[in-house]
Symmetry: C2
């Protein structure tokens, strides 16, 4: 623990896309410690001499396992032969690793859905009647999924302030984050009209990434009836440059929470169905160098698992493609300081966070940097971090 | 009028992607009368020797105008030199013409939104408070946009029947259509964080297509709170194989309806902002050869225009890509028989359509075929039709 290589050993080997700063084309790499290994060069394989993981994603789980085995063999022990193909992270530029087909965002944390219900509809039952029966979700904008490090421009849009008779236009006042874990699909997929059974769902999942689903709560609050979130979310969603193979997380599967009432047959996932990950949200306030951890939470208790999400999303016969992204929705716990969004952590701004030295935050200010991190409890697998800094609204 | 060539003359020249049945690779074509012209062969241009229009879409409006001019010149008069590059429609297979990036569906018809409000919330004001202030919209699933002619498998999913305590699983009982007009974007697009001004929006629009946004009303009704439609829509959306260039529709722009209250500055579109198209929905009941026109409506009165839709969708800085699809939402009028969905035409099944000879329909039955058509009032430009036949739910 504590040195920069933790969680990026041979057990992990997450995939990304990089360009050496010395020149050349974007290509697929795996991260090993503080280096990036050029996979196409090491394995002499054209599938990795591409600007995205999609060709490899399309090849399916047998091929993913084979390549992982070859990489572990080639890089294991001293891995001397691999040396010419290793680039220090400081000598490369990392890119968005996937051409994302469709992006679906779920609402899978019962704690988050309950908190939001209490904040948005204080006089009603916090969970809507469908929530325990299906993983509620919707489609987001795949074209504005960006790689970690991309600056996030404060979005403008329509909001209605208080009881104003008419909406007004301007930069969002309630800019928020959502701490999520997403998965990326691959393999041959399904034919239009066929569902993916919950028992087979994990065979269609290549790996996972942290996701920050940036949210403008005032824009969202005014626009979302009756068709759901649109511009309050579509300005940007950040993912990690590193996709952690599901294979690296196999030792960390844990039993998920009991679902009551029992779910319909097509959602009955084999146990253990969840992945045990510890997640954190760090905030570096504008103009400061100090970073404050504002949330620590766990992914192992998520109500709706990845397999359930994918089985649900395809039960109507909708197809998936290699490179589709499915995100969990905000991951929150029940205790103070375990919630994955500012709207929950500050109860819609009513209880601003007191960081230190008079610095408080209800929502994000220009210049703030938010960084999501995650790892297995033993720190052997560290998810690639997702960071972004807020820049002022334009024009 | 009346022969098969109407609306596919030199004034139109819609673009598609085809493969000659005699063999070869998919390539770009334009339709002229009952032929498809191989554009890459005729113009000796690599941009058209592709399996989608996307490369051409990316080139932008100056290039689109230039190519259209060259095609009209080459195909005009006798166009003798073009003859070797013309294939009868009966000798080709048509494909989905675009690799669709993101698919956004709006809710732009005030008549449709009012009807749905009355049906869904009979005791409340039919239009929600935001409706007249912004074009309400949401993201659909781009990966299940299919080309006209693709069979539509009846989707299964969760529904709650009446006041049942729990949902049940099975094929939808309320399978519906939505008659829509969509537009396809192209050109250099915008940078992340920059809006597309409403005055410039049409420069980013390559062309239009009819859209059938198939809908399972019972699945949608149970799932859609609070994040909007998901599986009730994502099983399939059909578009035409032919994209009509916006340029071909320039003579048919008309003034849109007055918007009251006035809209915010960023939505104030130059007039004429709407396109005058006549639209119809035809139904061929299962096992019959007779076709019944169940709806005739107009696109010229749409409350929110294409330019307003695109300005709104990007006002938060969200980018567009060549090949994004934005659909109008169901186009409905105020009179009986002018509504673009069965839920409206039959008032959620309460008043089934009486077709003829004892054939009635509340919602779609297996074997039914629905065909959408559209044209300019003078019939000089006929939109490519969109048809689909319902096949039974799977296993």
């Amino acid at each position: 623990m504590g040195d920069g290589n933790d969680g990026f050993g041979l057990e992990h080997l997450p995939y990304g896309v990089f360009t050496p700063n010395a020149g050349g084309e974007p290509r697929v790499g795996v991260r090993l410690e503080d280096d990036v290994v050029d996979v196409g060069a090491l394995l002499d394989d054209e599938a990795f001499r591409r600007p995205s993981l999609n060709a490899f994603l399309a090849q399916g789980p047998d091929r993913w396992a084979q390549v992982r085995g070859r990489l572990q063999a080639a890089l294991g022990n001293d891995g001397v032969g691999a040396a010419p193909h290793r680039h220090p992270l400081s000598d490369v530029t990392l890119h968005l690793p996937i051409e994302i087909g469709d992006y679906v965002d779920f609402y899978s944390s019962i704690e988050h859905a309950t908190n939001l219900g209490r904040i948005m509809r204080p006089d009603a039952e916090p969970l809507l009647p469908n929530w325990r029966h299906l993983p509620v979700g919707y489609h987001g904008r795949s074209g504005t999924v960006v790689v970690s490090g991309t600056p996030i421009t404060r979005p403008s849009g329509q909001t209605r302030v208080g009881d104003a008779a008419a909406p007004s236009f301007g930069p969002t006042r309630l800019l928020d984050i959502e701490l999520e874990v997403g998965f990326v699909t691959g393999g041959p997929g399904n034919a239009l009209g066929d569902a993916i059974p919950v028992e087979k769902a994990l065979d269609h999942i290549f790996g996972v990434t942290l996701v920050n689903d940036w949210s403008a709560r005032d824009i969202q609050g005014w626009e979302y009836q009756p068709l759901g979130p649109f511009l309050g979310k579509s300005f940007a969603t950040s993912i990690s440059p590193w996709i952690t193979p599901l294979e690296a997380l196999r030792p960390y599967f844990v039993t998920g929470p009991v679902q009551e009432p029992p779910v319909l047959r097509y959602l009955q996932a084999p146990e253990p169905r969840n992945v045990d990950l510890h997640l954190t949200v760090d905030l570096t306030p504008a103009g400061k160098t100090d970073t404050f951890t504002i949330s620590r939470t766990g992914f192992g208790d998520l109500y709706w698992s990845m397999a359930q999400q994918l089985a649900h999303a395809t039960v109507n016969g909708a197809t998936i493609r290699p490179g589709d992204l499915f995100a969990s929705g905000t991951v929150s716990g029940t205790e103070p300081g375990t919630m994955g969004s500012l709207i929950e952590l500050t109860w819609r701004g009513a209880r601003p966070l007191d960081l230190a030295g008079g610095i408080t935050r209800a929502f994000l200010e220009d210049g703030d940097t938010v960084t999501l991190t995650g790892s297995t409890p033993d720190h052997l697998v560290t998810l690639g971090e997702v960071t972004g800094t807020i820049v002022p609204a334009r024009g």
